[in-house]
Amino acid sequence: MRLWLIVAFAAPALAGAAFAVLHVWPIGQPEAIGENAGDPARGAYLARMSGCIACHTNTGGGGQPLAGGVRLPTDFGTFYSPNLTTDPDHGIGGWTIQDFAAALRQGVSPEGTPYYPSFPYPFYNAFSDQDVADLWAAFKTVPPVSVPSKPHEMMPPFNLRAGLKVWRALYHIPETFTSDPEESDLWNRGKFIVEGPAHCGACHTPRNLLGARQAEMALHGAEKLPDGGKSPSITSAALKKEGWTVNALKYALQTGIMPNGDVFGGSMGEVVRDGTAFLSDEDRTAIATYLLERDG
C-alpha cells in the first residue's frame, strides 16, 4: 500500500483515538469536603467579592438573580454564564457540596467535564473548606429559576470540551493562598482577596494566544478584554506612578472615582457597582494596601 493511503487512513483513525483518549482522561480530584455548617451571610459576602452575582445575573437583560445568561464574547467564541439558581434541572439544585467544591476550586463539573477558563476557577482554589461551605449555604438560599443555561457558541476547535483537558495540563495553575508572615494581617487579607476571590488577574494579567494567563506578567494590564477595552497595569509601581494612594484606591473601589476625577467605565465600573462597593471598608483598605505595597 502506498504511503499516502496509509496516512489517509491512519490520520483520522489516530485523531479519533486521541480524541477518545482525551474524552475518558479523568481530571480533577475527589473533594473530601464534609457537610460543614456554612454561614449564608458570610457566603453571600464572598459571592459578592468573587463576582458570582455580577457575572451570573443578566441585569441588562432583566434576568433573575444568578439565573445566568450574561454574554461574554471572546476570540474563542461567545460564552454565556450558566444558571446557578437552586432549580434542580437548569441550575445547581441537584448538586452536593462535593460537586460544588469540585466545580468551584477545580473547574470540573459533576459529570467530570472541564469548564472553560472563562469561569475563573483557578482563583477560587484559594477558598478554604469553610469558605466553600459558606458559599454553598448562600447559594442554597437563591430562589430557583427554571430557565435553561444558554449553550456557549464556541468556534472550532474550541467547541470540543475534551480539548480543555490538554489546556488544563498545559496552563492550569491553581492559586493556593499562602500568607506572608513578614507582612501585616491587612496586607495578607488583601493578598487573599486580590489573588483569590476578586480574581483581579483575570482581566489585569495579559493572556497568551490560548487564553492562559502569563504568570510572569501578573497584574501588568492586558490589551484586549472581551468588551473591547484595555485593562491598566495595577502593579504597585504603575499605580504609584499614576498617583494612586491607599486612600484613593480604597475610595475608588467604593465609588468608582479615580484620583484624576474620571470614573471607572467598562468592566471595572461593573466590578465596583456589583462587587467592591458592597465590601467592607476594611476589605477595600486591604485590597488597596496589598496592591500598593506588594513587590512589583
Binding site: P40, A41, A44, P65, L66, T141, D262, G269, F278
Partner: protein
C-alpha cells in the same frame, strides 16, 4: 485660476487638519463633548478630594461644582452625541444609538443627582462614610435571598426624589452622581487607556 482655487481649498483643508490635530485629534462636536466631560471630570477630581477627607469641606465649592455638572447633564449632554459620531479619538460606543433611551435616562438621572447635590451641599459629610452608597455591605441578604433589593443594579434605576436627596449627606449624593457617571461609562464608553 483653477490652480489657485485648488491651492486655497487645499490649504484650508490643511489648516483644518492642523487645528484638529492640535486638539488631540478631536474636532467639532466630538471635541465639544470631550471638553464637557473634562469639565465634569475636573469637578469630580476636586470634590472627591473633599469627600475622601483629604481636603477641607467647602460647601460653596460643592454647590458650584454640582451646578457645573447639572449644566452639562440631560439634553445638554445628549445633544453632543449625534448618531454615529464615533470618529477619531471618540470613546463612544455605538450602543449609545441602539440604546438611546437608556443613554438619555442616565443623562437625565445625572441632572437629578447633580441638582440634589447642589441642594445637599450644606449638609456636609456623613460621619464615617462607610458602606456602598444606598446599599450597605449587608444588603445582599436583606429579603432573605442572595441578592436582596438592588436599586442601582439596572443602570438607570428609579428616579430619586429631589426633596429626599436634599436631606442626604453631601457625600452620599456625590456617590450617586459618581455611580451615574460610572454606570453610563460602563455601558457606553470604550476603555482605550
Amino acid at each position: 485660476m483653477k490652480f489657485t482655487v485648488l491651492t486655497v481649498a487645499g490649504s484650508l483643508l490643511l489648516t483644518g487638519a492642523v487645528a484638529a490635530y492640535a486638539h488631540g485629534g478631536a474636532s467639532g462636536i466630538i471635541k465639544e463633548r470631550m471638553d464637557a466631560m473634562g469639565v465634569m471630570g475636573d469637578v469630580m477630581k476636586s470634590l472627591s478630594a473633599m469627600m475622601r477627607g483629604e481636603q477641607a469641606y467647602d460647601a460653596d465649592a460643592v454647590r458650584k461644582g454640582a451646578a457645573a455638572i447639572r449644566s452639562h447633564s440631560g439634553e445638554a449632554l445628549t445633544k453632543l452625541f449625534p448618531e454615529h459620531s464615533i470618529e477619531g479619538p471618540s470613546e463612544a460606543k455605538p450602543e449609545i444609538w441602539t440604546d438611546w433611551q437608556a443613554f438619555s435616562d442616565l443623562s437625565d438621572q445625572l441632572g437629578v443627582f447633580a441638582t440634589g447635590l447642589e441642594a445637599a451641599a450644606d449638609n456636609g459629610l456623613a460621619h464615617g462614610g462607610g458602606g456602598a452608597g444606598m446599599m450597605g455591605a449587608g444588603s445582599m441578604m436583606s429579603g432573605g435571598g442572595m441578592m436582596g433589593s438592588a436599586p442601582m443594579m439596572g443602570g438607570a434605576g428609579p428616579m430619586a426624589d429631589p426633596a429626599q436627596l436634599a436631606q442626604m449627606p453631601a457625600d452620599g449624593v456625590f456617590n450617586m452622581v459618581a455611580q451615574t457617571c460610572s454606570a453610563c461609562h460602563s455601558r457606553f464608553r470604550v476603555e482605550k487607556k
